[in-house]
Symmetry: C2
Amino acid sequence: MPTFSYDDLMQLPSRYRGRLLNKISGLKPANLIGTKSKNGQPNLAIFNSVVHIGANPPYLGFILRPTTVERHTYENIKETGWYTINQISAQIHKQAHQTSAKYERGVSEFASVGLTEWYHQDFNAPFVAESHIKIGLQFEEEHYVKCNDTRLVIGKVRHLFLPDNCLDEDGDVRLEDLDSVTIGGLDSYYSIAKLGRYPYAKP
Amino acid sequence: MPTFSYDDLMQLPSRYRGRLLNKISGLKPANLIGTKSKNGQPNLAIFNSVVHIGANPPYLGFILRPTTVERHTYENIKETGWYTINQISAQIHKQAHQTSAKYERGVSEFASVGLTEWYHQDFNAPFVAESHIKIGLQFEEEHYVKCNDTRLVIGKVRHLFLPDNCLDEDGDVRLEDLDSVTIGGLDSYYSIAKLGRYPYAKP
């Protein structure tokens, strides 16, 4: 059985450790975050760290890596207050992965990878037209993680767009009908097959 | 196209809104968090909010719901400093879901749902013997989310146990060979099939 102590992990080559540690937390949500700079430059970036914060009121969070390198997404959110979270389906997962390339400021990832900007009236951040689930958010609060210089960024859901024929009468969204994908680590993508949906558990 | 503004969302029935909002962030990691109280009582609870914080040093986080009701996991982590994160596979996903039932203090979820406590020397929190990936963590820092009374809890990885034959030479873990499952919302479970693994993207 491969076994690693903290000291073992710290002695691994950096990329090996990165791949290993990114995989062990399990499967991750696959989303694209869309923003626009004050100057009107659109930006699109893949994130595997979006997390449900609450439903009442509706909040979502995501983890932002250290801002020591340029982080257009973060800068745009802080400048404008607005951003979008767009679900990645199997059809667009290769384009979505390509957004992780380090494009120069002034280059739009939308055009570079072949995804389409889509706008809603009164909301000045770009949605991804090809995404089945589109969420418009307003920045709410952030937390600086001291131990490694990352941030938890939280936004309030201002707009939600779903495709036809995926929403059940009880509010459930059938992700299995949307070709939703899930991410392993930084580079592996998986399709899903439903095992089951279970009632609220009681002792 | 079903469309919801913030006001629309706030006017939905509470359970409908909860189901809807829990689904829209995409697929979630499936983990069991194991703890032990100062008095030696083991606890096991399912979490769909574990998130990668960093690899150097290795940190994982998770979101904890409001502590207005009893939260044995949180109390035990704060009391002892130790906890485990254990991956849920298809074989144990029904038992894992059952840990979400509100068991009385003094009742072990391990025994109640039929999972096995497993201990590592010098680490006083229970792992799940049936889990393919077992992680032992030490509490590092927490952040109180003001907007809805939740918390981001972060721990440092102290021990990592993997099964044989899933770890590639470059540090990648083949989740597809571990029957790993992913969670939609609060109640839906999915198996995975690999679409692809792609190189580091370049413009």
